[in-house]
Subunit: 354 residues, 2 copies
Amino acid sequence: MFNLILSLNMEQNRYNQITITDIAKALKINPSTVSRALSDSSVVKSSTKKKIKEYAVKHNYQPNYAARSLQKKKTHTICILLPKIVVHEFFGKILLGVQREAQKHGYRCLILPTNYDLHKEINEIKNLLNGGTDGIIMSYQSDGTSDDYVNELIERKIPLVFVDIAPPNLKVSKVIIDDIHAGYMATKHLLEAGASQIACISGPRNVINLQRVQGYQKAINESKSNLNTDLIIFNEKIIEGEQLGMVCSEKLLKKYPQLDGVFATTDMLATGLIKVAKKQNLRVPEELKVIGFSNWAISMLYEPSISTVDQPGFEMGMKAAQLLFSKISATSKVSEETVIIKTKVIRRESSKVN
Amino acid sequence: MFNLILSLNMEQNRYNQITITDIAKALKINPSTVSRALSDSSVVKSSTKKKIKEYAVKHNYQPNYAARSLQKKKTHTICILLPKIVVHEFFGKILLGVQREAQKHGYRCLILPTNYDLHKEINEIKNLLNGGTDGIIMSYQSDGTSDDYVNELIERKIPLVFVDIAPPNLKVSKVIIDDIHAGYMATKHLLEAGASQIACISGPRNVINLQRVQGYQKAINESKSNLNTDLIIFNEKIIEGEQLGMVCSEKLLKKYPQLDGVFATTDMLATGLIKVAKKQNLRVPEELKVIGFSNWAISMLYEPSISTVDQPGFEMGMKAAQLLFSKISATSKVSEETVIIKTKVIRRESSKVN
DNA sequence: TTGAAAGCGGTACCAG
DNA sequence: CTGGTACCGCTTTCAA
């Protein structure tokens, strides 16, 4: 009975939450004072502040996000747009890094998986433009033909940071790795492990792959061995990485039995390659040394374990979020910054010296 | 110059977004009419509706989330609490399913990774209670000692659906699999493949593992072979699944050389097990048949490929979201529902008949 | 069919 | 140091 009366007087919210006005009424003070007290304003007398805070805690007061957002024109939400999140280990790690950093800043993190569908992506972004988010972290997945949506974000001055892949011709903030250098180091690792006839297998000719291959070429050129450009294989087909690796390796290994090393631009390709090698009774690493790229779980678990280039997604995500928050909290425009995260070669069985 | 004047009159928002009031002023009609028109109310004359909509599209009007939330007391956001998201393939798939369904309903999806830290989890939930979210999907990770926070959610009537694991003694909606049955089917598969001395390796004694083991016991009991309870191994240590599998399998395989089958309650355990078997020159599947659980990527990629129980995360996530939305949109209380998603044994090399 | 006005929960400005 | 009040953008009565 008493409860009924109570519930008629206050806690009328959807989820029975108490509001600032409730507190004010109960304590017979003005809502504005309550607001000030709860945000620890120095102007409020400490005794009233104490009284208010105690009441708030006791009644489990929680500020209403929507109301605060509306007033402050801040959502306390950042948004991350990634393709294939989750299913893709690397993106997953990025996400974790962003999340960690967001938590520090008291921000929430909205996640939009795009599945590589650019049009959906653009639509999502439009939905975010008004009060949807305070900033965006995204990986650039366009083919370069329609960057209008990126331009729109820039024009509207929405804090924006690219991670992993950035649009090549726009002045934006980004957190990336040096794919050329990483490809170079990977190939060099094979050379140092004793390989001299080294091929390179890759997915489609996108920015990332082209750069990794470029690094490969550089390393080969620096070595004594002459580069046979036939030894570079791009695959434009969209099938699972492992399958793709098997298909293209089959031909490659048959055609060039003298090969003693392969740089695969992803771990999945490397996995497929080794499977084929085993079938053809080629021993890895004794007869063929292999290195992959990204340090996915599979590269460690596979037998033989696969050497790879560690691409520190978590760190990249954290750094991207840090950049984003510096933009969000900046009073004046911040200059565009490019952060290059260091990668390192991880030595495993697949490239052991004989 | 003209732009300056324009920007003083309208588009004063943080991101230069136009508002309903702006449209009303420009068209010299009342904001309420604009609101009605934009939500397709049937009372508005079609000619004015058309005029308003055209203007809105032309000026790229987007409704303000915060304002709408505040007014409607709906956030159009659901929240998903999962441990280890991303890094954990299964949770990743759940997430994807939820997301897909949320998109259909025009909802956004807030993701909170909890890292198995219950206290953080509880704190996060508290933050969500007021206007933070319209509903919660979560996996129950508590040890059962402190379910207060679940009770609080229930008392506050916040739409709530558990996925994968649910609190055993509370009346809640949940989307789960029948772990007993799945364990039973997995073990039966080994029996049918010709194994008769079958062990079972498992992680810690949590609800999930206990049920899978229970299914194993049932299958063994039904078969002629007598169950040796020594052949059930629980591992309470918190180390990587694969390592754990290696450590416990080492002893197991040495102690019981007569073993010809193992049911591992996770794919990672199975991977570790097979690694050890190979080292001890035990041929899989010829001498030892193995089945794992969850159908992670590794189980397909490993050599030999590992038979497993498919746990359809995507479907579970979708179903959970559907349940949640039925609760959110319900006018009166909906009864608690338990949905059991079907699992199936996936036959691969590791359990091939000799 | 449209307009006027109130209010969702907070914040911030101006007075006192 | 505190109270009063307007307002953030949108929806929803109530009147007209």
